[in-house]
Each structure stands twice: as C-alpha cells, then as structure tokens.
Symmetry: C2
Subunit: 397 residues, 2 copies
Amino acid sequence: MQSFDYQTPTRLIFGKGVIEKLPKVMSAFGKKILLTYGGGSIKKVPALSDNPSAGSLYDYVHALLKDFEIVELSGIQPNPKYNPSVLDGVRLCKEHKVDVILSVGGGSVLDCSKAIAAGACYDGDPWDLISYKTKANAALPIVDIITLAATGSEYDSGGVISRTETNDKIGYMDRLLYPAVSFLDPTYTFSVSKKQTAAGIADAMNHTIEQYFAEDTTLLNDGFCESMLRSLMENGRKCLANPNDYQARAEMMLCCTYGCNGILSLGNSESGWPCHGIEHALSAYYDITHGEGLAIITPRWMKHILNEHTLPRFVKYGINVFGIGQELSEWDIAFKAIEKTYCFFESIGIPMHLREVGIDESRLDEMAHHIAVNEGLDQAYSPLTQQDIKDILVDSL
Amino acid sequence: MQSFDYQTPTRLIFGKGVIEKLPKVMSAFGKKILLTYGGGSIKKVPALSDNPSAGSLYDYVHALLKDFEIVELSGIQPNPKYNPSVLDGVRLCKEHKVDVILSVGGGSVLDCSKAIAAGACYDGDPWDLISYKTKANAALPIVDIITLAATGSEYDSGGVISRTETNDKIGYMDRLLYPAVSFLDPTYTFSVSKKQTAAGIADAMNHTIEQYFAEDTTLLNDGFCESMLRSLMENGRKCLANPNDYQARAEMMLCCTYGCNGILSLGNSESGWPCHGIEHALSAYYDITHGEGLAIITPRWMKHILNEHTLPRFVKYGINVFGIGQELSEWDIAFKAIEKTYCFFESIGIPMHLREVGIDESRLDEMAHHIAVNEGLDQAYSPLTQQDIKDILVDSL
C-alpha cells in the first residue's frame, strides 16, 4: 500500500431545497460575489421544485443574495476556455475586489471558477498557475451550486482548462481549490438532457475505472469502485428512463461527487488516468463532449492493454461489476467485460465512434504526438507509447 | 434518499515513517502542546520501524518537538473517564494556556482529547458539553498519532466518555472536534496484541453493520459497506496470523478510519446504532473492551431483529459479504449470515459470551432499563423496547 497525504475539506449540503441555506453560507465569506455560470441553464432550472413561484435558479439566487454585491461572469463554455473566461473572471475579481466566487452550473463552470479563484490572488499571468510554472499562494473561496452530475469538481481540488490557440487542455490541481461549500440539489438535474445525462454517467464511470485499473490496489478500494460502477449503471439507466426520478438522480449525483477527490483510491499506486490523457487531446482539438470522448476511448483502451499481466484485473472487473459467470475462462470473462463496457455506453445513447462526433483520421498523428509528449502515459498503468495511443485512436474511429 | 450536510476536514497523513512531518504540522498551531496518552504503549512502540536508534514513539515525539513546550497527561484508560482524565486535561490546558493537543494512542486517548479540547475553551463544567446541555463555541485543535486501528476517531468528530459514578457512557459529537491532522503509520500497530487486534476488527465491522442495517440505503453505500466488511475480515485474519504484515495492517487501518465519519451512509436514513446503544451500558457498568462487547451483542441483535421486513437486508448481507449461495432459501441465507457473523468473531478469538467477560445476569434488568431510557432505541432500525434489549442481553449471556 502506498503512503498518502489526504484532505477533502469541502462541505457538502445535499438534498432538495438546500439552497435556502445559501445566504447564511455566503455571509461567512464576505459581501462581494462573482457569480459564474454557463449557457443559461441557470435561467431555466426551477430553484425550488415544490414552489414554482420562487422562479429560476438565477432569479432565486439573486433574491436570496439581495444584501450582497454581485458581479456576473456568464457564458462559460463546456471545456472551459482560458481566453476569454478565465481571463475575464480574474479581471472582474480584481476590479471589484471580489470576496468569494459562486459557481452555478456543472463541472465546466466550476473548473473555470477554480482557475479564476487562483488567478485573482496572483499578480502574473494565470496561465503560469494552470501550467504549473508557479504555485498559487492563495485563492478566493469558492461556493458552488451543481446543476449537472458528472465531473465531481464539487468535491475535488482540480479543474481542466483549455487554451484554444495551443490545443492545450490541462488538468490543474491545487489544495487551495477545494470548494468551501458545494450545494447539491438533485432536482436541479431533472432537466439535464439525455445526451448530457449519458455523458455524465460515462464521465463518472471512467473516473472510477481510471482508479480501479492500477498496479497496486486494496480490496477495500476495489469494492468501493465496483460499487460506484454498479450504482452508476443502475441509477444512470433510471435517470434516462425517468428524468424526474429523485432517488436515481440523487444517487447518481452522490456517485459523481466521489469521482475525482481520491477517496476511491487512497493507498493505491498511481494509474496515470490514461483515458483522460487521450481524451483531453480530443476535446482540445475538436471541442467534443468530454464524457462522450471518454466513453469512446475507454473500451478501446481496455482492449489494447489486455494481456497476461492485466488479465486478473479484468477478470475481477467482469465478475464484480457485470456479474459475469465464473464458469467462463479468464480470457472470456475479460473479453466479455470489455464488450459489456462498450455495450453499456452504447445502450445509453452515446455515439461510440470518433467519426460520429466529428473526428476523422486527419489529425490522429498530431494528437497522438501531442498526447505522448504532454500526458506522461509512458508512466501509466500499462504504459502507452505514441504508437499505442495512435492505435487506440484508430480503433476508436 | 435523505438530505445531508457533511464535512470531514481532517487531513490524513498515512504511511510508514510519516511522523517526520510532525514538527511542521504542529508549528501551524502554536508552541504549547498538551501531549495525551494512555497506559504506556507510546513508550514501547518504535517510532521508526526501519531505524531503532530513533527510540520509542514517546522519545521521538519529544525529540522532534524539542522546540515546543510540552505538558503531559498520561494514564488515559480504555473507555476514557470524565473523572479524572477529562477534568485533569482541561485543567492543564487552562493552566498552561495550551495551543494544541497531541493525542498519541488509540481511540480512547483521542476521544478523551476531544472532550478536553472542547472543555478547555468552556468556562463551565465540561460535562455540560458532553451531555449536550450546552454547545461548544470553540475547541482547541487536535493532532493525533494512532497506535491502534479500531474506532475511527481519527477521522470523525465524536468521542465516547464514561462517567463512572452515574454509569453513563455518552457518545459526544461536535463538528469542532474533527482532528485537524491524523498521523496513521501502520507499523505502530504491529505490536498490538491479538486480543486488541480482534477487538479492533470487531469494532470497525460493527460500525459498518450499524450503518448497513438501515431502512433507506443506497446501492452505492451498500457496496461501500460490504467492501469494508470483506476487507476487514480478510485483512483482520492476516493481521492476526502475521502481526507484522504491513499491507494487511495498513488496509485494516484505512478501513477503521472510515468507520464513524458518515461516509459509508451519506443519504441513508438513521439507523440509531442499536448495538452501540446496548454496548455502551455494558462497558459503563463493567468496563469491558468495547469491541468485544460489540462482537457479543451483534449476532444476538441480528437474530432478534430478523423478521419478514428485515429479511431482504440480511439476504443481501449474506450474499455480498459472506458469499452465501443464492440457491438457498431467503431465510436460510439470513440464518447462515448471522451464524457466519458469530463464527467469524469467534474464529478471531473473541469471547462470545457475556459471562466470559465478567458479566452475569445480576444487573441485566438495570442495564436494559438504563439503555431504554437513555439510548433512544425505540427509534432505531427495527425499534427495540426495554424487553427486547433485555432479551438480547439474556441471549448474550
């Protein structure tokens, strides 16, 4: 078992109607708020599912925070952009001497808010921090209200920021960036589209798979991960069948929350998160939906790394996650487990070929090179060369 | 799914030799330390398993903290006592204007240190806080070094304090009482006796069972709990067979850490922790080892509450924790699961009858009455009357 140094200080306030606690929570951090959001779901989602007169989340947040000064940054996109979103947010924080950021949306808005929180307390170019050229000394506190179950950004210290001109998509982590408080009301995810719900399921499943497939793991963590995967599949299917199923939306939301803060793999060896390494290039070059990219890559990556050495892990995965019968041979269990992974993603409506999301063979070499140079996958669980990465991409077409 | 408001801010520093970080960690909290410990294991455990010249944990802590002022409170007993331990600790903190408490030992030392931390910042009788007569406004920060894997006090906000003259044993919780930092070096548990190792396994297993048997649970939490139980049994057996098995001691230590901070049951309905309610009286009246008391009570409690309504839960428990074949009838699976629970505790050397730990029938009525009045078990999962409690106690003789 590996040594570790672990802390997740975020407070989770979870359940229907918890937004009522917002004013009290915010008042601990100051009076000047940067309110960050994306394409407008904040203006459509009902703030209180049992009380339509409260209006949209946007309206109700303003009503609840009428005694605060609010500056807004809107239009934060999926795969959030350094320019303009991070830069604009940092500028607003500095100009208005903001005390605290309130992020309302999914993981993209929150990831962007984290980069802003660090940049606002830094005199130089915020890219210095994101690219690890220098380390932040401080960051503004962040409170978030989650409207999409997927990334787990609400319970981790990381964010992923894209810089279009260089095709960079960087996962940026710093202990300073744990949200102080995350509000999780499952009813806010009732209106999430089937496409985004499925992408969220795939995202959280891949977060778990990236930690499960590691050289050294524990019986404890293996069981945690297997439970995550079973729950995400069962509750994910229910969310798609009945978008207003509170119990299913709630459990999916809780599952997603555990995806990236390390609790699923404390003491495991590092896996290198290879599917993320590959997918980051896909969305940096083509701006595809992250969860869809992960779903496409995952079974191809599995097929590619299956060998004598990794076989026992696939066998365990097949038996405990998919209930594949132990009467089959180990290889048959492994093949079947990979097939079931693919079929599950396909069954929830994810386009399972790169061509379906607008990616053809033209830039595969360039992306494989970019990934090999930047993502350190030669150190991953089952190390990947540039040729390996290219093969996985070709197989994903 | 139930709503919840959850936060575990404690930093876990886990692994062999992590104590080297102690001076840096302590310096964040001040210069004056109250060092709390128990019967002297601190003076026997080697501080660095690879470097005997570092001496005992006691010696090395003093060497590492030579630039700090240290006041000591020793002799804290299992089932830690309000009088003298808590009262002495509070007095020392006030007299010496202590900045931070350093607890070295198992859950009893840490539980006592938590009560001291709150009492040190309160003008009245500390029992007011422990008995919930009033709520603490502040508490001293706590750092701990764990030498016994069992209670999970290192990652929760609670403590259990006994007051001998009234036979009270109260579980006291307050968000202020999460340790700031917990040092977990599995080598410190190598010298834990077979008796205490087994009691620790039973303690952590019962913490999990208390959360697993609840009215509303999630597929996710069920899987987390089942994984805990499987890991505790497998690694517990290994620890007993080979006390210096680092991997097994480490995984057992990690499992125990999750026992009581709620992470295993976020969103579940309250179970009321009935076995703890009963066991607290046993150790308050007879000062028995907590984990042994829990092991004795658990299977009798299970047998008592098994009925048509609780049957599905026992079936799930039997199949997923013990691998009992699904070809059996539901009732047979449940009976077998309870039998296997009993047999596991017995197999690790726990005395499985109250008489074996010095408890006869003479005070069962008095204890059943005390439990019924004080523990609220009429609200527990499968509610218990005073007669139910008495029956469970009689069955445990």
